[in-house]
């Protein structure tokens, strides 16, 4: 479980996060949604410690992340997997080396065991015949799978995904969403996905936090989201003509 408690974040005079408090539950796919520029990515990066928060607290299973010393932070980070918007694979390493990288750095396992674990992760994300390829030689969807495989290599407790569908076609987006959800349930992780894709919301949104101009405006499940009377959230959901049509047809 990860808690954000009254998190504020400013860059100079500009306050990007304005006192966000929420709980991201274990074993669930938690979604942070909102328009571009609403502060989603800043919140996600604050949660993982890539940004220092201006005030407030972030707790991992009850322990304040901000109060941890460097050694404890380092240990905690090995329990964190992250899928970046652009995959952030290491260009100079092959697919297998990318996935093996956290194992090479943080385990004393034999090469055989590390390879075995890497291949397990590769199989888990349904990647075929890609071990020896470099990131530039595979498609965007495959890169996301490799990034997921790398993120789960050390069997983390927490998984963060920043816009996992960015740059993918709708079909591949669904496959990646489903993969993230399956892995979350299978490994009992606390997963936080940052997205503005309504298909993801309807597909995997077990716990959804809506951020608007740096504030949390709404929190609930995918089943509740269509019944909320909130102008900003309605504008966000029904920006898609498809969803608007579904709503209008249901209204009839």
């Amino acid at each position: 479980m990860i808690e954000a408690i009254d998190v504020h974040k400013s860059f100079g005079d500009k306050e990007v996060l304005k006192g966000i408090s929420t709980v991201f539950e274990k074993g669930k796919t938690n979604l942070i949604i909102g328009q571009s520029g609403s502060g989603k990515t800043v919140l996600l990066k604050s949660l993982v410690g890539l940004h220092d928060v201006t005030s407030g607290d972030i707790r991992y299973d009850g322990n304040s992340f901000l109060e941890l010393n460097n050694k404890s932070k380092k240990r905690l980070r090995q329990d964190i997997g992250m899928l970046f918007q652009g995959s952030a694979l290491f260009d100079s390493l092959t697919v297998e080396e990318n996935i093996r990288f956290p194992l090479d750095m943080f385990t004393d396992w034999s090469m055989e065991k590390r390879r075995e674990r890497a291949n397990f992760c590769i199989d888990r994300v349904n990647l075929e015949n890609a071990n020896a390829k470099f990131p530039s030689e595979i498609s965007g969807g495959m890169q996301k799978r490799v990034a997921i495989a790398r993120a789960i290599a050390l069997n983390p407790k927490y998984l963060f995904c920043d816009e996992p569908n960015s740059g993918l076609d709708p079909r591949t987006s669904i496959v990646i969403d489903e993969l993230i959800h399956e892995i979350t349930v299978e490994f009992g992780m606390t997963t936080i996905v940052n997205t503005h894709d309504m298909n993801s919301v309807m597909g995997i949104g077990e716990n959804i936090v809506f951020i608007y101009k740096g504030e949390k405006l709404w929190e609930g499940t995918k089943d509740d989201i269509f019944h909320v009377q909130n102008k900003a959230l309605e504008d966000f959901i029904f920006a898609s003509k498809l969803f608007k049509k579904v709503r209008d047809n249901n209204g009839k």
Partner: protein, 246 residues
């Protein structure tokens, strides 16, 4: 005032760079890879520049010393001292600031804008130490060898140019390069090369590491890396000359 900002940030960056490496075996492999990438790959350009540099120094000296009372071997002597004292360390340093400096800045800058550095940080790895320290150690280790090769090839270039044009007969040139030889000049050049290697690798890494934005900013960081490394090389060349030869 901006210079103090960068000086402070550069100092803090160096503190991060010289942190304890994550895993010894991975660290050693990286150093070997960087020696190949930064050093061995630079061998071609160093050799080409050195041979022409030696040839031009010899011919220019010859054309300016066309007096019967000055023996021909002084051309070899002048060419040798110019190559040892200045050209093989400073000029090669400036050339490597362009080649290696832009390579380091653009590689690390690209890793920054594509979030690869964030990915390392999330894993609990010190990105500055992991990415930059092997480059610094590898380059500081390999640059004296490049300078020694440059010296040899520069002097050889002078010999070939002098002989082919007939300006300096071979035996005279060989006598000249041995005449009044001061071994400390080689030590002086090697000390300078180590300092220049450190300057090029750390300053270029500093600019690359602190890029924010996209491809344009990576290009700008690469340019800043080359310009500021070159200026620092010239500044430290002056300081070291005063300290070591005065």
């Amino acid at each position: 005032m901006r210079i103090f900002y960068h000086l402070g940030r550069y100092t803090l960056f160096l503190k991060k760079v010289f942190g304890k490496p994550e895993k010894h075996s991975v660290f050693v492999k990286q150093i070997i890879r960087e020696v190949d990438k930064l050093g061995i790959d630079s061998l071609g350009i160093v050799m080409i520049i050195s041979v022409f540099m030696g040839a031009v120094i010899t011919l220019q000296t010859a054309y300016n010393l066309e007096m019967p009372i000055i023996p021909k071997y002084t051309i070899g002597l002048a060419a040798r001292d110019s190559i040892l004292l200045e050209f093989s360390s400073t000029i090669v340093g400036l050339i490597l600031a362009g080649k290696v400096g832009s390579n380091i800045a653009s590689e690390i800058g690209t890793m920054r804008v594509t979030e690869q550095i964030d990915a390392l940080e999330i894993m609990g790895i010190n990105p500055a130490g992991y990415l930059v320290l092997p480059k610094v150690l590898a380059f500081v280790f390999i640059i004296p060898f490049l300078v020694i090769i440059s010296m040899g090839i520069g002097i050889l270039g002078g010999f070939v140019a002098g002989s082919l044009t007939g300006e300096v007969p071979g035996p005279e040139y060989i006598y000249g390069i041995q005449y009044a030889f001061i071994p400390f000049y080689i030590v002086y050049a090697l000390i300078k090369s180590v300092v220049f290697g450190f300057i090029i690798s750390t300053i270029s890494a500093y600019w690359g590491y602190h890029v924010s934005g996209g491809a344009l900013e990576v290009g700008a960081a690469s340019t800043k890396a080359v310009v500021s490394s070159s200026i620092q090389i010239l500044l430290f060349n002056l300081i070291l000359t005063q300290l070591l030869l005065a």
